[in-house]
């Protein structure tokens, strides 16, 4: 009875700000203009005229999950290739270049056919073929107008020009002074309408260097790769986004072209434009420039579903490096009905110095210098992991950190989270959402993500309602379902000795 009245009081206290927050967000929501081209490409435009700048975010719903055996790393390679230009950007003479590129692919294919013979390779022949390949590569490179795409943006004042590839998606982004709106339309539509795969073999070398930097010469990168390989049995989340080195070596030009054709169809892309623009004019330009891209069949999703995990798994990596602990529990995707509960648990465990993991592992037990639990690893689109990450303090072990994390998990399962603690989570979610609104680039990113992955950009705002609806019982129920030993994988980085 008493408990009920407390809850009632709390509810009353919550009502006013829930309403006002919603009103505030409604204002922003009502300003978002949604426009879908006939070919299926969706634009989300949020005009804001505080400064004469605009941010662009192209979200392509293709990532490493869409690769298959033999072509790991291709989504990311294509992201690199998308900066190489078109038939009239990045070339000195496309007619000549086209011939040179065909010769280049032929010479590479011939060399590669010999190279893969392994023990049966004819080394004289191999050298001849390699020389021939390098010669044709030089010939093709001589026709490239190197860096033209980047230069076209940078010289007009573009900043933050970059792209990223993850397990779920490939994203391209930049910001421009707002009078250069049409520049972006021209370049961005051209690169997806008329891309030329040039510098392909050199760019693969660049990607291999990226792999060496991020994974092979980086102990934490290595741990993540080893960990995912064990955590997943069959879903492509098990594969490294950067790709296996043998695949990077072997991926062909034709495979890259086919991958583009299959996945870079307009209906598989969402574009966010936030900043000093007139939505009407923006839509006109969108129709004019992106309307040129032909529609294509919707690409297939990932067929493989990760089977239920039956046994606890673990991996130990020994390196000349200090200890790191990584733990992952299988859980539902961002579209799972419990998605908001995962977010709440993550906040309770990890947000700030009042979070449970900070208080336990860092402040009180002094076991770690960093400790977090977060949802959505290595992606969010498909069922993924609720992951824990701890950096043990000097002289402390991964085992001690794991035991302390386990204690916190047991507490979540057994004891109801206090109302005050849950209220704080909800307050923070609201404050974070408001802060997120302040950045043009951040909003362009968020809007496209929610549209592409959850099917509706409005979920960015509805998420707050869903978090507000999470109950103490939800948290306990989800903790008891997800945090089960047979459902987890433990990865540890241990120093060599």
């Amino acid at each position: 009875m008493r408990k009920n009245s407390v809850r009632f009081l709390l509810l009353c206290a919550l009502v006013p700000w829930v309403l006002s927050a919603q009103d505030g967000f409604k204002a922003v929501q009502s300003q978002v203009v949604e426009h879908t081209l006939k070919n299926g490409l969706k634009f989300l435009i949020l005009p804001r005229h505080d400064a004469p700048v605009v941010s662009f975010h192209t979200y392509v719903n293709v990532g490493a999950v869409n690769e298959s055996r033999g072509i790991t790393g291709l989504a990311h390679i294509f992201e690199h290739l998308a900066f190489k230009g078109t038939t009239d950007i990045g070339t000195k003479d496309y007619k000549q270049e086209k011939v040179a590129l065909e010769a280049l692919d032929k010479s590479w294919t011939a060399w590669r056919a010999e190279e893969v013979k392994g023990a049966f390779v004819d080394s004289t022949k191999l050298k001849q073929l390699r020389d021939a390949f390098e010669k044709s590569q030089d010939a093709a490179s001589a026709l490239v107008e190197n860096g033209e795409f980047d230069k076209a943006i940078e010289e007009q004042g573009g900043v933050g020009l970059n792209a990223s590839t993850g397990a779920d998606a490939t994203q391209y982004f930049l910001s421009l002074p707002s009078n250069k709106l049409e520049l972006w339309f021209s370049l961005e539509s051209a690169r997806f309408l008329d891309p030329v795969i040039r510098d392909f073999y050199k760019e693969k070398e660049v990607v291999m260097e990226e792999r060496r930097m991020r994974t092979e010469s980086n102990s934490i990168g290595k741990l993540v790769e080893e960990f995912l390989a064990v955590a997943y049995k069959s879903h492509p989340y098990k594969e490294p986004v950067i790709g296996h080195i043998s695949d990077l070596e072997g991926i062909t030009h034709d495979e890259a072209a086919a991958f583009f054709k299959k996945y870079y169809v307009p209906s598989n892309m969402v574009i966010g434009i936030v900043g000093d623009v007139d939505p009407k004019e923006t839509i006109r330009l969108a129709e004019m420039y992106f309307g040129r891209i032909p529609a294509g069949p919707a690409p297939p999703g990932v067929r493989t579903v990760e089977p239920e995990q039956k046994s606890e798994r673990s991996v130990v990596l020994r390196e000349e490096s200090q200890r790191i602990l990584l733990v992952g529990y299988k859980k539902g995707s961002v579209n799972h009905p419990d998605a908001a509960v995962y977010e709440v648990i993550s906040d309770i465990l990890s947000s700030g110095r009042t979070s449970r993991l900070y208080k336990s592992l860092i402040r009180d037990k002094k076991l770690a210098i960093q400790a977090q639990g977060f949802s959505g690893f290595p992606g969010e689109k498909y069922p993924n992991l609720f992951a824990f990450f701890a950096v043990p303090a000097q002289g402390k072990t991964n085992e001690e950190c794991l035991a302390a994390i386990d204690e916190e998990i047991a507490r979540l399962k057994k004891d109801a989270v206090g109302d005050e603690e849950l209220k704080a989570v909800k307050n923070r979610a609201r404050a974070d959402l408001i802060r997120g609104l302040s950045s043009d680039a951040g909003m362009a990113d968020q809007l496209t993500f929610f549209q592409a992955i959850t099917g509706d950009w409005r979920n960015l705002f509805k998420q707050l309602d869903k978090i507000n609806a999470v109950t103490v019982a939800d948290i306990q129920r989800v903790a008891n379902t997800v945090f089960v030993n047979s459902n987890r994988t433990i990865g540890t980085l241990e120093p060599v000795k």
Binding site: P52, V53, I89, S141, N146, G147, E148, D150, K151, E154, E155, Q156, G157, G158, L161, P177, K180, E182, L183, S186, S189, A190, L193, D194, D199, K202, E203, K204, E205, V206, E209, R212, M213, E216, S217, N218, S219, K261, R292, P294, S321, Q322, S351, G352, R353, T354, I362, I369, V391, A393, Q394, E420, A424, N427, R428, R430, A431, D432, I434, R435
Partner: protein, 710 residues
């Protein structure tokens, strides 16, 4: 796709016609054919600036787009002012100022107050400034401001949070070689500024241990006065209201004189150097080259920033195009003309490449740099770099936060408030000539410092092929200072008792009467090339003279130490030994077991009982012997039954930091009435390093003084 290409070309032709007729944008155009409307005039709002009567400077800027208020604070302080034996003090003070709470609230209480409303107030101390950041929802501004003021004015530096910050600092030290990028950045800074410069020096276990609460309290007291602080607030408030709030929380803080120490200026290297950091767990080398950078107010700053943008500062720069896109040598490659506000930054060019192309990449980067300095910027590059600089200017002012912080920082650093506009003019006015002149004047191939981190055995060519002396940098982390218990009357008394027993066991009066010792035997040495044995003869004259003669495979060698100088005589003539080896000889002389026992009662030694231990099941008493004049100490493991010394443990300075050296003694035999171990096995950090087997020991043969002359 092919059909569409034809269509594009057709559309482009149309577009061109439209431009000619003055209408733009009704057909898709290739980017080169686009014309842009002028950028809407940027109205940069002027923040309100005022000073409180106590000298605190305040900037306010209204921004009503979201119900948020943010703030930042700058304090004239920095780790640049911390004493050299307490490196880390600034950083600890900056952290614990927040976590350690205030005189009226603990840090944990402040965490609760802020986090339950999604607010944050954090403090820090960097190298050249200290400060704070505040971010709150509009309705929480009073809470946020009062916490901010309380932290800056009344921090309590509670002990538990100092310890917590120290744990984090120690852990960071232990992990500092794990990530190549940060390792490379830090070591390069040390090369450019010198290892003891405030911009480069490193926190070590020892410097952390040297810090205690009163240091933090003093550091805060020294710099945190209102007249030494600037505050900026921007967001959803009215300036009048906010002015009153600021006055309320900071107005009562009394002005205090603050004096800022001067920091010596760094200097440009006078010659080239090549440095190598071995790291065997990587398959990619990190390469950095460069030299001391500039200061933002240098007259060449504008032209040099244009040059840097063209050379390696952006995606369409020369380095990115050549080294990454054309040669496929690297994923990351860039240059950065580093500028500080008031002290030179670091100019660096860096990139990473697979181990097998390390030397190729070094040559490629060096060549590109030399070429750029020699031949200068091209017309194309000039246009590109200037345009990208000037066109992206608007992003310096696209948020209220950037505007207000830029202004506050300029005032903090002593720059005019229209500096950005001046800088813009400088860049506008930069010509090919002025840029190339500036580059020739400030970019110095002859002063290049080169540093490579990687696994040399996998390199395409050895580092030495780069044609200069290669200096290898040791990044071993110095061990924390040994924490040995201080002597107490009890442990000293117990130590005395043990020594007395040992003295008797080893020889009593005969031991005390030793004037000189002659040892003959075989010395086996473990080296990188394998083990080898030599005949050895050692002559020791009390207190600290020594001659060691070895018949080594490469010829005879005699090492002499006359108590103050040491030299080696061999076929190659006579060579003096460096100071570190002299030090080692002194430690050997004063750490000699028989010598310690002979002189245990002299004032030079402090001997205490340390602990009980065991070797091979035999009980041992361990004593700690400190030799006060040389600050050197050894631990002796003494067999509790026989009183014989079975093991000696010392810490020595090795090439890669401190090394634990153990000598295990066995085969004790009596020579001229004194027990000597005829076998000594030495290990270094657990690995066997040498073995001495004696064939004879003679005492007091009257070794002549002449033998110790050069």
């Amino acid at each position: 796709m092919k059909t569409y290409r034809v269509l594009t070309i057709a559309l482009l032709t149309f577009g061109f016609v439209f431009i000619g007729s003055g209408q733009t944008g009704s057909k898709p155009l290739q980017y080169k054919k686009l014309k842009y409307p002028p950028l809407r005039q940027v109205q940069i709002p002027e923040p309100l600036r005022f000073q409180l009567s106590n000298g605190m400077i305040v900037y306010l800027l209204e921004d009503h787009t979201l119900p948020l208020i943010e703030g930042s604070v700058l304090v004239r302080t920095g780790s640049q002012y911390e004493p050299a034996d307490k490196i880390g003090l600034g950083s600890l003070t900056g952290q614990v100022m927040r976590t350690g709470g205030t005189t009226t609230k603990t840090g944990d209480e402040i965490d609760e107050i802020l986090e339950k409303v999604g607010a944050s107030v954090e403090t820090y101390i960097g190298i050249t400034s200290g400060g704070a950041r505040l971010s709150v929802l509009k309705e929480d501004i009073d809470t946020g401001l009062s916490v901010l003021a309380d932290l800056l004015r009344n921090p309590a530096f509670r002990d538990d949070k100092i310890e917590l910050a120290k744990i984090a600092a120690r852990s960071a030290i232990s992990r500092r070689n794990d990530q190549v990028m940060s390792l490379a950045g830090r070591e390069f800074r040390k090369l450019i500024y010198g290892p003891n410069d405030p911009f480069a020096r490193m926190t070590e276990y020892e410097t952390i241990e040297n810090i205690d609460k009163k240091d933090l309290v003093e550091f805060h007291k020294k710099f945190y006065a209102p007249n030494n602080i600037m505050l900026a607030l921007w967001g959803d408030f009215t300036a009048d209201e906010m002015k009153a709030k600021v006055e309320k929380v900071f107005g009562g803080w009394e002005r205090r004189e603050v004096s800022l120490p001067t920091v010596p200026e760094p200097t440009l290297a006078s010659e080239r150097s090549i440095n190598f950091i071995p790291k065997d767990d990587v398959n990619q080398s990190t390469i950095v080259l460069g030299h001391l950078g500039g200061v933002l107010r240098d007259p060449e700053s504008g032209p040099l920033n244009v040059a840097d943008q063209a050379f390696g500062g952006a995606q369409a720069s020369r380095l990115f195009k050549k080294v990454r896109s054309e040669q496929g040598l690297a994923y990351s490659v860039e240059s950065n003309w580093g500028e500080g506000y008031n002290r030179a930054g670091v100019f660096q060019i860096n990139g990473s490449t697979k181990s097998g192309s390390t030397v190729k990449m070094v040559r490629s980067l060096t060549m590109e740099f030399e070429n750029f300095v020699k031949n200068g910027i091209s017309d194309d590059e000039l246009k590109y770099a200037k345009d990208s600089y000037l066109n992206s200017y608007v992003f310096r002012f696209d948020t209220k936060g950037k505007i207000i912080n830029e202004l506050m920082t300029l005032e903090y650093a002593g720059y005019p408030k229209d500096f950005i506009q001046q800088q813009q003019k400088d860049i506008q006015n930069a010509t090919k000539q002025s840029i190339n002149d500036a580059v020739k004047k400030r970019w110095k191939p002859e002063s290049l410092t080169l540093m490579v981190v990687g696994k040399e055995s996998d390199f395409d060519k050895p580092m030495s092929s780069l044609g200069m002396k290669v200096r290898t940098i040791d990044i071993t982390i110095p061990a924390p200072p040994e924490k040995l218990p201080d002597p107490t009357p009890e442990t000293i008394a117990k130590g005395k008792e043990i020594v007395k027993k040992t003295l008797t066991a080893i020889g009593g009066p005969a031991l005390l009467a030793i004037k000189d010792i002659t040892l003959v035997g075989k010395q086996m040495q473990v080296t990188a090339m394998g083990e080898y044995s030599m005949d050895a003869e050692m002559k020791i004259v009390r207190p600290n003279k020594m001659i060691v003669q070895m018949k080594a495979p490469m010829g005879d060698m005699t090492m002499v130490f006359n108590g103050s100088n040491a030299w080696v005589k061999s076929q190659n003539g006579t060579q003096d030994l460096p100071g570190s080896q002299r030090e080692e000889m002194l430690q050997q002389a004063y750490g000699d077991v028989h010598y310690i026992l002979q002189n245990a009662d002299r004032g030079d030694y402090v001997i205490q009982y340390l602990k009980d231990d065991a070797i091979d099941g035999n009980a041992m008493a361990v004593i700690l012997v400190r030799h006060t004049p040389t600050k050197f100490n050894v631990q002796l493991f003494i067999n509790s039954k026989t009183g014989l010394v079975m093991k000696k443990v010392t810490t020595q300075t090795g090439e890669k930091g401190p090394v634990t050296v153990e000598e295990v003694y066995s085969d004790y035999r009596v020579a001229d009435g004194v027990q000597f171990p005829f076998k000594t096995v030495a290990t270094s950090d657990g690995k066997k390093s040498s073995e001495l087997t004696l064939t004879s020991v003679k005492l007091n043969t009257g070794i002549k003084e002449d033998e110790f002359k050069k």
